[in-house]
Structure formats: structure tokens, C-alpha cells
Point group: C2
Chain length 417, copies 2
Amino acid sequence: MRDMLGREELIPVEKALQILFQHAPFQLPNEMLTPLEDAYGLVVSRDIISPEDLPGFGRSTVDGFAVRAADTFGATEGLPAYLKLVAEIAMGERPQCALHKGQCAKIATGGMLPEKADAVVMFEYSQRVEHDSIEVVRPVSPGENVIQAGEDATKGETILKRGHRLRPQDVGALAGVGLSEIWTYKKPRVAIIATGDEVVPAREPLRPGQVRDINSYTLAGLVSDAGGIAEKKGIFRDEYEIIKDTVRLSLMHSEIILITGGSSVGTKDVTARVINDVGSPGVLFHGVALKPGKPTIGGVAGSVPIFGLPGHPAAVHICFEVFVRPVLELQSGAGFDRFGRHRRTLRARVTRNIASSPGREEHIGVMIEDRNGEPWAVPMLGKSGLITTLTKADGTAIIPLTKSGVREGDYLEVILF
Amino acid sequence: MRDMLGREELIPVEKALQILFQHAPFQLPNEMLTPLEDAYGLVVSRDIISPEDLPGFGRSTVDGFAVRAADTFGATEGLPAYLKLVAEIAMGERPQCALHKGQCAKIATGGMLPEKADAVVMFEYSQRVEHDSIEVVRPVSPGENVIQAGEDATKGETILKRGHRLRPQDVGALAGVGLSEIWTYKKPRVAIIATGDEVVPAREPLRPGQVRDINSYTLAGLVSDAGGIAEKKGIFRDEYEIIKDTVRLSLMHSEIILITGGSSVGTKDVTARVINDVGSPGVLFHGVALKPGKPTIGGVAGSVPIFGLPGHPAAVHICFEVFVRPVLELQSGAGFDRFGRHRRTLRARVTRNIASSPGREEHIGVMIEDRNGEPWAVPMLGKSGLITTLTKADGTAIIPLTKSGVREGDYLEVILF
């Protein structure tokens, strides 16, 4: 976009994201009934209600003796409480009988409390005095060392909300309440379209002037890490009709479309024209105050977000993290990332001065180094087109829009790969 | 382990890990030749040498005019250098002829420099004066706006070292140098053995006193996230012979074995006896200054690490992160994690005072909350046996061994899930 004087006008990253998200909700993938074994990493599409109490009975959380707490009140080392040992509770079984006043039963962690028992005395605070009785040297309060029936999850309670992405412990909890299949969203399909007259497939021999397709490989991995299904569409010439046809086809099968530049002069305009022509509202922003990644195009066709990403491998990576990942997260049916734009971040001090132009957000590949237990970010200086800058880096450090650089020792936010 | 007076002696986490790692190298999985498409997340088993220069030719990093830098020396707005435009370089093709003194060629980002050209003038610093000549208003130095042949990777250079886990950008770089298959380690197989007389499979109806197998589901997800192949062996009774036979069988097919407790009183001893009896050196530590996770057992049989993990779901999760993940990383053929024990960490301030016993490291489930742009950790207080504590949490905060608690506003290290 250009201002009245014809100068290129760049919008800040936050503003670009905001414009993009004003067009949400985008098209969500369909739901499916998923076996619990296959649910890791998927997003829950309906609130999940616990079908039963967890645990289903009062359980001990320690190894010791189940007691009626009142029987232990006032017990001390000098004046212990004496209790009669009437049973040993077998794991996985219901205790045979209730506890009467002055009685106790040996119980292991996870064992089911007998009726009338309301607390457990740990072995450490008891002593066997005879075959069938014990001394308790410290009182327990009712409920101590016990998980009550339904304390973890109550029957009818919502245990996971729609939009939650299932982590290992969530799947464990669903197994715990006996759910063996659940409703989830399918993973969003992300079309990856490489363009560029100079770009050839990775396996082909190179002629002078040609380069191999790096971006499709990088993007496929990033998409899959972010919970999408990468669909590499191939490499296409920088021609309006060819790219438009490919994008049209992709619109029918994909929830997000990524077009990686083509770096020839006219390409960015071709991509923008295609995005405008395949559906409305079309291009939402073109040119971002971000380095690398300035020529990024963001748009929406119908309810499918489409991105025109720059051709530089390093820029593609950063644009993915900044723009595509949050959109993909939303397209997965998950809410916004609660940590904001970047999840895996680290605050680290920078090992040297870096100059930066105010008015653009700059992302610099860094290695993280441990110096006396504190993380330091070592900038990988090199041209932004170099791929190896990113293969050697542990993450990218961000120099905010408003800063004209950072000094050695300053704290920076680092997005970890 | 008990000291001379029979008191339980707990070893600090760092010491336990150190003892464990003294027995490395463990048994590595076999190598395989992997197509690049399938290599994401795998660990490289041999150094990878670049078979060619990347790029294979001098390339422009901007849109502009390829020049001989010396022709622009001294150029200013008032006294521009005049150059004759002799060619337009097509993307993906070798320029037809070399540049002579005073000549330039139009070039796009990624285009191949003509012979004798050594820099590129950006469009912004030039003006077309006639059909076939331009003015340059700012000098460029030799090499400016150019990536030299081999500048990104040189033929014969080691681009990735053995032990590197392949991230999306690494796979992209390998595509860039034309490698279509590479040697990697197979993923380590991790046997998951659930024990406990009270534990039943997730799909079965419960009788009083029984609970469902949560830990196998949680561990399978954690193993897979950490780059291993989870092999759920099933649920076994707390009996020495049964568990020993299962562990013996697993030793033949797995690179790591996890036994989750069984919480009945005798179980921990059964697990320890089994670990001692299936191979040497057997149990290396039994009881750790860690909460939750105190009863953790770590051992090695031959060259296979075996862990006895507690039965509490929350404890299992934390013991995995603390002990199993670093060992799994090593078993994958990757070196130690360069960020130390925990990779995805965040420094956050704690929202309330928490008491803790000095002499043990305490891990507390926390939610991360954004307060004026700063991350705060909200402790999820609840009994450590509760599963839902971890399903609601974003990570666990660590109270170090030496501290007797933290105050509101103190900084804590949080391991993000």
C-alpha cells in the first residue's frame, strides 16, 4: 500500500494481525468422533462432561491407617491415641465393614476408605504396639490424607471446554473418567504453493540461476508442528492464471493457503491480484513493518485466510511464526493462544549491541548460551537470506517497533523454535 | 535407601540425574536411511556434508540493478553515476553476457549476477533516465546486496552434526543443498508397564475400590511428544514374577522401560527388586528429594534405563519431565538439551505465598496469567493426586531444594507443558 505521496506504507505487525482477525471466524474444519488413543494434540469440538465421579470413592493419598479423625484428637508423643486394628484393606476392593469408634484399618495409597472412616494417619505418625493395635502420636483432621469421591471431577461437571487442545495429561484425565472416544475437530489442511521461475524441486539437478525449493519443506514442518496438515501443491511459474487456478483449487480443499514468493519483480503483485480475484474481501494488508518479512501479504477469500509469504527462507520462517501460526491455531478451533502471539518464549540478555530502524519490528536469529545460569542471546549476524542462520539458531529475538536498537546486556524476548 | 539410623535418605534431583547419566551411553536405536519428507523431528545419525555450494551462484538479495561497484563510487544525489542498462536478467537463468565498465543489468531478488558484476543497487537509489540508462545516487561497496556462491553453505562443509534433531528449517536447508534422503536414528521405543491391583483399563466399568488406568495414556502422549515411540504393555498385578516377566520381554524390544506404580504398600519394593534382578547395575536411586515424585526409582539393566514411577498421575507427569525426558533425549541419539533439564521455560512472578520444605524440590501446577504484559504464575492448589490440577495448569513452577517457600511477587521458573 502506498500513501498519498506514493511512498510505501508499512503497517505494524499488531495492526496487521488485528485486521486479519476482524474477519474471523474463518471456516472451521469438520468434527469427528475420535478414539482417545488418537486424540493427542487435537482440539475438542464440544464441551466434555464427566460421566462419573472421579474418584468414584474416598481414597487414601498416603500409606497408613484409615481412622475416624475424632479418635485422634489431642494425640501427642507423650499421650498417644490407641486404636484397634480391625482390617487390612486390599487394593481394588471395597472394604468388608465400616469402622467403629476406636478402630482403624491398614490402607495403602489409593485404597478405598471404609465406611465411617474420614481421614488417614501416615505410618510415620503411628506405631504398632501389639498384633492388633496401634498408637497414633499426632491428630488428623477430618478429610486429611484423603481424596473425597468426586473431588477430582464430579459427574456432570465440564472437565474440558470446547476449543481446548488435548495435551497428554488431558487425555489421561479423560481415560480416568472412562471416556473412550470424544468429539474433536479435524486438523486444518494448509495448502502450500511455491512460486518462482527459478525454483526447482529438491531432487532435481540445478542449472545455473536455479535454486531448489526450500520453503515448501520448511513450511510443511512448521504446519505440522502447529497442528495442521500440510499439503504441498508443488512449484508454479510466476504467472497470474497458473497461480489463480492453483489457489482456486486449493480453496475447495484447504482451510488456509500459503503462497511463497517467487522473488521476481512482478510476483508480489501477481500474488496480491490473485488473492483479490479469488474471493472477497481479498487482500487485507500488503507490506508490514517487520524485518525480515516486509513484503508479506495477508488476505481472506470467503472464509479462508490466504498469505503471500516472501521468498527468503528466513523470512518465511518468521512470517509463519508471526502471522500463520496464530491463524492456524484459530482455524484449528482453539482460541487465541493465552500467552499472546508467541508461546515458547524466553527472556534473555543480548551479548552485543544491535542497531535497528525504529518503525519496524526486527527478528534476529540467536543462539542461547548459558552464562552462570542465566540465558544470553548470541545474535547470528548474517544476511537474512541465509538458511544456515536459522539452522544454527535456537530461536529469534525481537527488537520492538519503537526501538532503534539494543545494547549489550539488554533483555530481549526470544521465540524459541 | 535408608541411612544408618534407618531414616529414609532422599537424594536431590541433580544428583539422581548425575548417577543415571554416569551409566550412559545407553543403547541407541538403529540407524535408517530416511526420505527427507519423513525426517522432521528425527535425530541425524551421521554428520551431514553439503554436496554442493549453496547458493550455487552469486545472487541478488534485492530488486535493483547489478553493477560493478567501482562504477558507483562517489555517486551522490547531486552528482549521480550514469550507467548503461544492457540487460534484464530472467529469473532462473544464466545471464547472457558479462558486464563491462559503466554497464548495469536489471535484476530481481534471487536473480543470478552476471559475470564481472559484484554488487546490486536497489531501485530506491536509482532513477531511469532514458530507455537504456540509469542514474545511481548512492555508491555500493563490492558484495553489497549480494549473496556469494557458497556463502550459505560450501560444498564439503558439515551443515548438520550427528545428534542434531531436525527442525523444519533444517529439513528446508537439506532440501536446499539437494539431499533427498539422510541417515537418522530410529525413534527409541519406550515400554509403558502399568501395575496395580486396583487399576483397570479405561474402557471397563468400575467396581468399588477400582480406578482406571490414567498413567498409560498420559505417558504415551508425553513419550510421543518427546520423540519416542510409546508401547503400552498393559496393566499388570503387583506380583514379582508377573512384573519381572513383562520387564524381561520389554528389555528385548525397548530402549527405555517405564513402570508406573501400583500404589499398594509392597509395590515399590517389587519394582525395585525386579529392576535389580533383570540386569546390572540395577537400581541406582530409590527415593528423591522431589515433591511430587518422592518414591521414584531409577535404574539401568544392561544398557536400558528403567524407571519406577509413582502412581499419582500428577507425580508421573513431573517425574517424566524431570527424569525420563532427558534420558529419552539421550536415547534418541541427541546430546543433552542445551537449555539444561527443561527446555520450554518461562520466568514468572508468583501470585501468592507458598510454603515448602527445604531439602526437596517442589513442583507446583500453575496457570499463567498476563498482568500488564508480564507473566504471573497462579498456583493451582490442590492435592497432588488430583488429575484436574494438571489439566487446568499451563505448566509447573519449581521451588528449589534450598528454599523454604516463596513470597508473592517472587520470580519462579515455570516449565511449560
